[in-house]
Symmetry: C3
Subunit: 312 residues, 3 copies
């Protein structure tokens, strides 16, 4: 069984390129298992995994939970409503408490970017970042990479546009460096207010209009316009955003490469960053991404917790 | 293993009479298994079932959840508090997301009557209606039928009074047509404002006072007075309702047949539709219904998901 | 397999001294199992356990839930947000409903002290008190006793100070009588307003200042200052409380016995009843208590539900 050297998966940089490809390969096997009537492996029987989601999440949490159950782990959910965990002061106590309960892994989502590192500093348990603040979302990156790799058979050499509010996106913060490290070319496509301060640190090029670079893109990754995290840094209106950066039939059919693909981390704002026509097009792979999500999370947990035996 | 032909169980009419009797027969076996110390079958190991309850529910949700766990399925809960699922716009995306995660079955409760049909139209997963708006609640009907059949050894030929707010009841909307189809005689007993617009479409006769028909009834099914769904269509007062339609010792001992039984979908409003004395009487079978609920839900899921092997 | 004679565990007095020691012995085995990579026993496979927590709780609920999962029970969570269960009127119906679903055990937490007794009176299921109002919290007592016994190799003859709001503490109400029964000497250390009305009924001595008795104590059990349950019965200020009754470096290093230990039921209010320096000291065993919590709960459920076979 190939394993992951880093104890935690907090940043995508915790994985080497070889480990990323090993995750993708294992995920392909898990994806196939997820097609079976009996989607169940005994691999993580008796391991305890806590889903500590202190920010609301539907698809990410359920994706992790399904992955855990299909690997036979014992999983426990914690949400923001559980009062003792939300008081900032007791973050440390919460971490030490779960550790004393002999939890093997914590999947954590929190609006504060350094949350997972604090957990990692104070716990024996392994930490998987389920999306922290505006920094990183490594399993989202892995499912994006899986979807790209599955479609093109390669990642190297591809040009990947990441369109939208890069500044506030935990998706972009993980994906761009991974793409750059694997030999692809990430381009941030956004108005200046949505661009990160130092894009080159993330290994990305920068463009200010979508139409200018769309013809070069192999992958168009549309970010969700996230009002809740933007804190006032907006383009003048959603209508203007949509006109300049939204993916619509015109752009898809006239400007985009015929064999390019479109990704979106979901949930989509129909009519803002993407139109219903684009969603219905076979080149829009948002559901393949969701499907890949369960598989890559199974692969990550399998490789990090060192389950017994082979994946069959 | 007998199976159910319809892919989904949204309306009770999705089942043929033969299938209804097959559910009752399997449920009898599951009921007996539920009496054992070890209430567990490997039948649905590796199947994924989502409980998507967008309306609060205590007993129905826990009944389904127990049924799923006792059949060894992997089950996930979704409630209204999970914000992404409650926005009306994302209903479709939620359905497609769960489908992409390779969910085998969705048990859904929603205040909107057509919710399950929308899910069915957009999902590969099988849909079980856990009670939708004011229309249907097919597994409640199956547990009512089980309780009647277990007590009388037959359903055909029985006269079943359904007492209360028929208009707003999802219980009555499923039960009456099933009874009619199985050769029983359902009678809606309610003031005019609580009667449905076209009772004969549901296969039911109509009566406006309880005392008038009580002596003919084999089964008295008391509906819960549901303030939350009634939206102003009330009888003048709860006291008056209770006086005219409530089940009390006087009615039970003097007007009701000696060997009739009393049902209630729960939770009961003591002192409104039923008095404490009636609840304590052995002819009140509300707890038998709860017990039957887990068993018929096990039977339905077993038959719909085509578990391997026999029930032992 | 040693078993527990009382059907329910509502008060610590439901256990004989021999049974308490048997719980501690079994817990030692479970503690060791919890150190293994595969923390899973088939002991309670097919048993149904409901966690009915009608008061918020993080660590107690998750401790029970982990214990249940590691023993392979099917467990269901109920919280205060599930509306039907919180209406006082339906408490009885809720109990009877779960019973009709053939639940084997209910772990209940409620702010009303007599809640577990009502459940016990109306259910076939076995009841475990997960902390009720201001009266009892028997599994907390068992984990305290485990921690003391593990450290000293005995309980008899030890002097145990219980410091803080004894009056409103469910911790003190269970622990003091158990200590007294096992031959230890419990001392309540608190200002008069925090002392119980009849401390001798709980088998405890009384002291009004910490410094006076600290040199005699083998165990210093610090209670959490629980604003939420105190209802106005306060010491003048938290600062004064801390000065008079808080555990700090000075007290720990100059007044406390060198080989005494410090306990706390958690979560701790840093800077109120305990300082950061004390928390960091190896004699503060709060995390050992958390660890023991899962083990004693496994032992209690194992012994009460009469699992098959031996613990291996």
């Amino acid at each position: 069984m190939p394993s992951i050297k880093s104890k935690h998966l907090i940043r995508i940089q915790d994985l080497t390129n070889d480990e990323i490809y090993a995750v993708l390969e294992n995920a392909a096997t898990f994806k196939e298992i997820n097609e079976r009537p009996i989607k169940k492996l005994p691999t993580l029987r008796g391991r305890t995994i806590i889903n500590l989601f202190l920010e609301p999440s539907t698809r990410t949490r359920s994706s992790f939970e399904l992955a855990e159950k299909r690997l036979s782990a014992d999983s426990l959910n914690f949400s923001a409503s559980s009062s003792a965990t939300v008081k900032g002061e007791s973050l440390l106590d919460t971490a030490e408490t779960f550790d004393a309960m002999k939890v093997d892994m914590v999947v954590a989502r929190h609006k504060y970017g350094g949350y997972c590192n604090i957990l990692a500093d104070h716990m024996d348990a392994k930490i998987v970042n389920g999306g922290d603040g505006i920094h990183q979302h490594p399993t989202q990156t892995l499912l994006d990479l899986f979807t790209i790799y599955e479609h093109f058979g390669r990642i190297e050499g591809l040009t990947v546009g990441i369109v939208g509010d890069i500044y506030h996106s935990r998706v972009a913060g993980s994906l761009a460096p991974a793409l750059a490290s694997l030999g692809a070319t990430p381009i941030f496509i956004a108005p200046p207010a949505y661009q990160p301060d130092v894009p080159e640190e993330l290994g990305a090029q920068v463009a200010y209009t979508l139409d200018e670079v769309l013809p070069e893109l192999d992958v168009v990754n549309l970010l969700r316009i996230q009002g809740e995290r933007a804190q006032g840094l907006y383009v003048p209106s959603l209508r203007e955003y949509s006109a300049l950066y939204g993916m619509n039939s015109h752009r898809m059919n006239n400007l985009m490469k015929k064999d390019a693909i479109i990704l979106h981390p979901g949930p989509m704002n129909r009519g803002v960053e993407v139109t219903a026509e684009v969603i219905a097009d076979p080149r829009m792979l948002v559901l393949d991404q969701v499907n890949a999500g369960v598989a890559v999370r199974m692969a990550v947990m399998y490789m990090m917790l060192g389950g017994d035996g082979d994946v069959e």
